[in-house]
């Protein structure tokens, strides 16, 4: 405009034309959008009587047509009847098409006669259009569109007017460019806002912690979620990330990074020690930031709290280990049990053989010797008769002992409760001495009773206690060939202890270890069932007492049983 003001065109121009362009320029400047600007321009061209009809179009690359986007004035359906192209086809040879292609205004002075106007002539004349000018709205290489105006007057537009339009159009193009730039900027800004919104909601709604670490290992960003662990971002920012990794997990994590750098995808699990001393398990998929050449610039990682899962895993592993341990223990126990049963079964076989021998031998002797006694008697052999009767007597006692052993074993083995009656220790010892005194004497072994100043009473089963003492005393005599067997009874706190001490052969280490086993016999060929001590121990323990022993090979053995005092 300023340029136009100084030119000769201005002086020769109708003031109405200048006024129109001025108003149009003002409208364009104050327009809020491209559409508003073009609408105003069309309207003002018609209002100021520069044209009977005006329209603005925009090129459509797909159809190659110029699509009307604004119009003003009396077109009487002209635009819906005609098509205008901007390529070099017939429809592109009109003023608008030429204007697009050349980037210059195109003037049709006489619609009635213009050669190129053929496709639209009839429609244009029917609406009283006699001359027309098309002005491209261009800026540099950018073609924004076109403004085409029509007049009822033939040759209505002078070259000066066309120049004026051209100058106006370039201002319009500048405005449109601004609009489009602004639009693009706004669009970009909006997109950015949307994406930011998305990201923010993602970041804020996740419990994951996002962290960025630069190539020096410094933490350059940490998302606000980290404050959930009671840590302020400034406490970790700019510090080396490795300082916060649990020392045991550092090597593993760095190894994972090394793998990730060469493209092996890894998921790292590691513990973080927060500045306030919390230990948190995190899981992280390594995510390297690379520049355009693929060089690693740092790491941005999403840390997922895996503490809970780790806890569950550890618990599960713990349970598994516990289960395996139990199974192992149970298997071992079972194996031991099986071995015990096998050993017991072997011992039981041995026992059956022994007990059969033990029972049958005295029985055989009784059977034989009663016959022999009869014969001796018949022959008047008094000495032999007495001898056989003594043998029968002795073997009958032995048989009774063996049978009692067997019965006791089955009784004690199935017993769950023992009687608790007052049993006099003095009487108990007496009854044993009555039976074993003569046997010891015959063998040349002194059977002594020591102590016994105060009357002692045991709380126990009167039918079982004699068996205990009998067994210990008979064993002592059996394994002692010279010297003595001493019985000592004492009160020891809540217990009465009865010791049977001999000066016999003593026990080997194996015998000491195994003598309480059922059916164990120190000398397999010696008479006996191998259950005596087993029963003694069971009875003692069944009474809430115990049995102890001391033994030395060649020196002798002392058994002491402790039974509850009455």
């Amino acid at each position: 405009m300023g340029k136009a003001a100084d030119s000769t065109v201005e002086r020769e121009m109708h003031s109405s034309e200048l006024e129109a362009v001025y108003r149009m320029t003002k409208a364009v400047i104050s327009a809020k959008s491209e559409q508003e600007a073009l609408d105003s321009v069309c309207k003002l061209v018609v209002e100021t009587k520069l044209a009977k009809f005006a329209w603005a179009g925009r090129p459509d690359e797909l159809s190659k047509l110029v699509i009307p986007i604004a119009k003003a004035g009396a077109d009487k359906g002209y635009l819906s009847k005609v098509k205008v192209a901007f390529d070099s086809s017939d429809l592109g040879c009109g003023p608008t098409g030429k204007a697009f292609r050349t980037g210059k205004p195109n003037l049709v002075r006489f619609i009635e006669t213009d050669e190129c106007y053929k496709p639209w002539r009839d429609e244009a004349l029917a609406r009283g259009f006699r001359s027309s000018v098309a002005i491209p709205i261009v800026l540099g290489k950018d073609v924004f569109g076109s403004l085409t105006v029509y007049s009822e007057t033939p040759d209505a537009y002078s070259t000066d007017t066309v120049s004026l339009f051209e100058e106006f159009a370039s201002n319009l193009a500048l405005t449109l460019r601004n609009f489009r730039d602004k639009e693009a900027r706004e669009k970009a800004e909006k997109e950015l806002r949307v994406s930011e919104e998305k990201f923010r909601s993602l970041v804020e709604n996740t419990q994951d912690v996002i962290i960025s670490v630069n190539m020096l290992g410094k933490i350059t960003y940490i998302s606000p979620q980290f404050s959930l662990y009671g840590v302020r971002s400034e406490d970790v920012l700019n510090k080396n990330f490795i300082d916060f990794i649990y020392p045991d997990d550092r090597a593993g994590l760095l190894a994972d990074f090394a793998k990730a750098m060469v493209g092996i995808k890894t998921t790292s699990q590691f513990r973080v020690v927060t500045p306030n001393g919390k230990v948190i398990w995190f899981e992280e998929k390594d995510n390297f930031q690379r520049d355009k050449s693929g060089r690693v610039m740092g790491i941005t990682a999403i840390l997922r709290d895996a503490t809970e899962r780790k806890k569950i895993e550890e618990e599960r592993a713990g349970r598994q280990a516990e289960l395996e341990k139990k199974v192992t223990e149970r298997t071992a126990a079972l194996k031991q049990e099986v071995e015990k049963v096998e050993l017991l079964s072997k011992a039981r076989d041995e026992f059956v053989r022994n007990i059969t021998h033990e029972l049958k031998t005295p029985l055989s002797v009784i059977l034989l010797d009663t016959e022999l006694a009869r014969r001796a008697h018949a022959r008047g052999k008094e000495a032999e008769f007495n001898e056989f009767m003594d043998t029968v007597d002795r073997n009958a006692v032995r048989l009774r002992g063996s049978i009692e052993n067997v019965l006791e074993l089955s009784r004690v083995g199935t017993m769950t409760e023992y009687k608790k009656e007052k049993v006099s220790v003095e009487k108990l010892i007496e009854s044993v001495i009555d039976v074993y005194g003569p046997i010891a004497q015959k063998k040349g072994v002194a059977l002594e009773v020591k102590g016994g100043n105060e009357p002692l009473v045991i709380l126990g089963d009167p039918s079982l206690l004699p068996y205990v003492l009998t067994n210990l005393v008979s064993n002592a005599i059996k394994f002692t060939s010279e010297g003595s067997v001493a019985i000592t009874a004492e009160r020891k706190e809540k217990f009465i202890s009865i010791s049977v001490s001999d000066s016999g052969i003593g026990m080997s280490e194996e015998t000491q270890r195994r003598m309480f086993e059922k059916f164990f016999k120190a000398d397999p060929s010696a008479p006996g069932t191998g259950v005596g001590l087993t029963i003694v121990k069971e009875i003692a323990e069944g009474h809430g007492g115990r049995i102890e022993f001391k033994s030395k090979l060649g020196k002798g053995t002392t058994f002491t049983i402790f039974l509850p005092a009455g």
Partner: protein
């Protein structure tokens, strides 16, 4: 019976040995006792019959039989066992010493003299 048949009793139970000895003496044999396998093996030369217990400490009747077989002795043997022996054991013992007879201790008074008579009748 010009001379008395000599019988050796190898038996560790003195009561049994003594009884059997009396029974045999009473029946007109000359019975001697050996209280164990070793003693029996040492004494057995010159005997007409051996009565042998199986379950004995130190040297069992089984071992005695094997040893006798090794020495190619021909003295007849009757095994006097505390228990009645199953056939498998009898077969086993006969394989060590063919012609072995068997009597269980429980039936000594009824069967032993009969078995001894059978052995001597064969000769």
């Amino acid at each position: 019976m010009a001379t008395k048949k000599k019988i050796l009793i190898i038996e560790d139970e003195p009561d049994v040995a003594r009884g059997v000895q009396f029974l045999l003496d009473d029946a007109g044999y000359e019975a001697t006792v050996a209280l164990g396998g070793e003693e029996g093996l040492a004494k057995m030369k010159g005997f007409d019959l051996i009565l042998l217990d199986l379950m004995m400490p130190k040297m069992s009747g089984r071992q005695v039989l094997k040893e006798m077989s090794k020495r190619s002795l021909k003295i007849p043997v009757i095994v006097v066992s505390a228990v009645g022996l199953p056939d498998t054991v009898k077969t086993e013992l006969e394989s060590y010493y063919p012609g072995t007879g068997f009597v269980s201790k429980a039936h000594v008074r009824e069967l032993l003299l009969e078995e001894i008579a059978k052995v001597f009748a064969k000769k």
